[in-house]
């Protein structure tokens, strides 16, 4: 337990400054909180693993006002992973349509940009931009939790 707490405190220093900046932006732009709905359109789940990691006690993105919500109705942004399998194109569209305005689409991982390793397959649409307008892309295979937090900060800064 002790070494976990120690680790937690040491790691916390890495994200603290970043997180405070993020919090200030979110307070200003979204009235305290920024809620994200995640949709997997055929990812290998590597990206999901890193998104979940941003919520663990080491990175703990929630303390800065960013949270992942269970319904698109509660979301400010849609976070999409995967190359968009044909089977998921309609579900992705429907999820987007269910969100209230104003809304953003953020893609995460190399697959979501243009199909990545699965580009040219008979069964992928080839990137989220073929289905929805995209506001931000977070590159990586998968992007690390710190990259995700940094990219969100840069996005909210614009």
């Amino acid at each position: 337990m002790k070494n976990i707490l120690k680790n937690r405190i040491m790691k916390g220093v890495v994200t603290e400054k970043l997180g405070e900046d993020l919090k200030a932006h979110i307070f200003k732009k979204f009235g305290r909180s920024f809620h994200i709905r995640e949709v997997d359109t055929g990812s290998c789940n590597g990206c999901e693993s890193e998104i979940i990691a941003t919520t663990n006690p080491i990175y703990d993105i929630q303390r800065f006002g960013i949270d992942f919500v269970a319904s698109p109705r509660h979301a400010d942004a849609l976070l999409v992973t995967g190359p968009v399998s044909k089977n998921m194109a309609m579900a992705l569209r429907k999820t987007y349509d269910a969100m209230p305005e104003p809304k953003f689409v953020i893609t995460l991982g190399d697959c979501a940009l243009d199909g990545g390793a699965f580009k040219g397959s008979y069964y992928v649409v080839g990137g989220v931009k073929e289905v929805l307008p995209v506001d931000l892309h977070i590159p990586g295979c998968p992007p690390s939790p710190l990259t995700i937090i940094k990219s969100l900060l840069a996005f909210l800064d614009t």
């Binding site: 055929g42 990812s43 990691a53 663990n56 006690p57 995967g82 089977n87 390793a117 699965f118 008979y122």
Partner: protein, 508 residues
């Protein structure tokens, strides 16, 4: 160098069924792999392979038949061997081969709503349908009828940060009477994409295998490399085998930690999950430190590994193990001493041994239902030097699957320590082969979920003619559908997490 862990039995199409049934009985093995190969282009001929595991003989037994030219049907075996059923559905949609006598030929991956009938992606002469052509089919769920019975549809988009799948519950009051999982939402055409790889032995191909299922990166790349090594007759150095085994166990540790936390959170007990997610993060950080990648990408190469585990890395690894064993003891105490947690986990989601055997359940879920199945036992390799102990539980419930994980982590920590102690300094990669060879072979690895299997056929130019992948999830999703019967719907997330099956590995 010759590998002796797989044999092929060639039979005539009319003998195929009886031979498969005979082996299924004799070896008491489920159908482990069952797939077709298009022998074209140029000729319209298919062959069909069915693979069983011979535990005692420590080898794979594959029954092979060559269908006559122009014939696209064969006799189904799934009426007698249930574990063959899904594979036949897959052959029907991917190759247009008709397993005669199989009553259920609904599609698995190519959904009726988006894919036209008559286009078979894994045929050599496949041309994708035009964009303008719209499919208008629909899927037929099993119907449960009767007074007071209602359906609960869930998915494909779920509440959590998780892959997509559709679950259709039929319930009367609280207990689930039937659960049907409709999957395939993450189908990306992986097997066909392997056929486009310029060279089977290249790091590009290995790297693609790492992108099939993101939580089993190392199991996938190991199984892939092994298949190619077998075809090319490359014997990898012992040190590389040890390094592969160490990483395979590290992958098991971080995923088991993740699942144990997930099971706690699914009964509303969030503190152990926070604790477990720190353990997972520490393991990923260790992976990055010693291999350069949080998910162990880029470590494997055909012929061995790319990066050695030298003195300083070895020390980091051993220090990590000391810390992690303490953390796990704490986590275990937290869960097993909580009455409300035990109340939810004990006797929930029971998968009986008989059911598990009939369905052909593999890996972790099989071991929790009393089936002593583990490729590390059947094909020990370097594991024999560390005296590997198979972990097994009898109850088949959520608690049993939790206990298998807790005990496997202890075993993994012990194994890694042993491996690190035994392995001697040596080469980590065999010499590259200059000329590619035509041939076929099975590559396998006991991933954290269960056996990850690759069957690969290459041609003389070094390209892949056919790549068949079987993830343990492909067998085990059916196990989940049976385990939840009689349980209440609110216990589904817990049952689901106790199996923690892969969407991308299943859907390919």
């Amino acid at each position: 160098m010759e590998y002796r862990d797989e044999i092929y039995i060639d039979v005539k199409p009319e003998e195929f069924r009886s031979k498969c049934l005979e082996l299924h009985k004799k070896l008491s093995s489920p159908v482990m792999m069952y797939f077709a190969v298009d022998e074209g282009p140029g000729k319209k001929a298919f062959s069909v392979y069915c693979a069983f595991l011979d535990w005692a003989g420590k080898r794979w037994v594959l029954v092979r038949m060559q269908l006559p030219e122009g014939q696209a049907r064969f006799e189904s075996i799934s009426k007698d061997v249930f574990s063959a059923a899904l594979f036949e559905r897959e052959m029907k949609e991917m190759f247009g081969l008709e397993p005669e006598g199989n009553p259920d030929l609904r599609r698995l991956h190519l959904h009726e709503e988006v894919w036209l009938e008559g286009f078979y992606p894994l045929r050599k002469d496949f041309i994708p349908p035009e964009r303008a052509q719209k499919a208008e089919g629909s899927y037929r769920f099993k119907k449960v009828e009767g007074e007071g019975i209602f359906e609960v549809p869930v998915g494909p988009v779920h509440a959590g940060i998780i892959g997509p799948g559709h679950f259709r519950f039929s319930a009367a009051g609280e207990p689930v009477i039937n659960l049907e999982a409709r999957l395939g939402f993450t189908h990306r055409g992986v097997e066909k994409l392997f056929e486009k790889m310029p060279s089977a032995g290249s790091d590009d191909a290995v790297s693609f295998s790492e992108r099939v299922s993101g939580d089993s990166v190392f199991a996938y790349s190991t199984a892939y490399c092994q298949a190619i090594e077998k075809i090319y007759g490359i014997l990898i150095p012992e040190r590389a085998q040890y390094i592969r085994a160490i990483y395979l166990e590290l992958e098991r540790i971080y995923n088991h930690a993740n699942d144990i936390g997930g099971m706690a959170v699914d009964v509303g007990f969030t503190f152990p999950n926070a604790f477990a997610s720190i353990i997972k993060e520490k393991t990923l950080a260790l992976n990055e430190k010693i291999s350069g990648s949080r998910y162990l990408k880029g470590v494997n190469t055909v012929g061995g590994v790319n990066r050695d585990l030298g003195g300083s890395e070895r020390k980091v690894l051993l220090d990590f193990l000391d810390g992690i064993s303490k953390d796990f003891r704490e986590l275990k105490r937290m869960l097993l001493s909580s009455i409300s947690f035990m109340d939810r986990a004990d006797k929930t989601g029971i998968l009986k041994k008989k059911t598990a055997v009939d369905l052909g359940i593999v890996g972790l879920a099989a071991r929790a239902s009393g089936i002593p199945m583990d490729l590390r036992k059947t094909f020990p390799g370097v594991y024999s030097a560390a005296n590997f102990k198979l972990v097994r539980e009898e109850e088949g419930d959520v608690l049993a699957r939790l206990n298998v994980r807790l005990r496997e982590i202890e075993e993994s920590v012990r194994l890694i320590r042993e491996f690190a102690r035994i392995m001697a300094p040596a080469d980590i990669s065999a010499a590259k082969k200059s000329a590619p060879e035509a041939g076929c072979g099975i590559g396998y690895a006991e991933g954290w979920r269960g056996p990850v299997l690759f069957w690969i056929k290459t041609d003389a130019s070094g390209r892949i003619e056919r790549c068949k992948i079987v993830d343990p999830s492909f067998h085990n999703w059916q196990g989940l559908c049976f385990a939840v019967l009689g349980n209440i719907i609110p216990d589904f997330p817990l049952c689901n997490k106790s199996f923690d099956l892969s969407y991308p590995g299943n859907d390919l």
